[in-house]
Amino acid sequence: MADETTAPAAAPQDSRRETMAFVIGVAGWLVPGLGHALLKMWGRAAMFFLTVSMLVILGAGMRGNVFSSSGNDAFDALGYLADLGTGTFYLVARSLETNGADVSHAGGDYGTRFLATAGVLNLLAVLHAYEAARGRKA
């Protein structure tokens, strides 16, 4: 009688699929939409690239706060994590904002939200691409 407490060894195909899903997730994080593009979901790829890039450009243009790793409190750390969600676009935001953040007016404050939303939205897209790559219905 087979031992039911022992899980069967994972099939090589499952392992390969998991690895591919992970690679697709990382690619989608680095460049918004790339994960979906690798899955040949062209419409979603284009839209995620456009929406995330627009949010980053608008947020930086409105002189929102691009958080750095040298934050003073938990909110700065959370903001940094959210901003990092945009992947390479985090560097784009920093390079666009040569004049620095200005949250003394409402526009700058909105810009901070735009940047954080771009990051969280991209992380959501990454999760979607990851699940789709694993074979879940998307």
Binding site: V52, I57, A60, G61, G107, Y110, F114, L121, H128
Partner: protein, 64 residues
Amino acid sequence: MNAGIGFKLSHLQAMLLFALLISIAFGFLSRRRPIDRVKYIVWSLFLFLLIGVGIGWAMYPFSR
């Protein structure tokens, strides 16, 4: 030399752009058929604006 870009948007313009971009992203994320996506985007945008303007008016008595 400072070459940074700069946008000066009003509150309404910022809200409209934000709502539109998020609605489009959510529509593409959660629906597959194009017609379903359009319906979702329009409905989501409408709710964003309705709730945004509603909260704005709800805060109006306390604004001064």
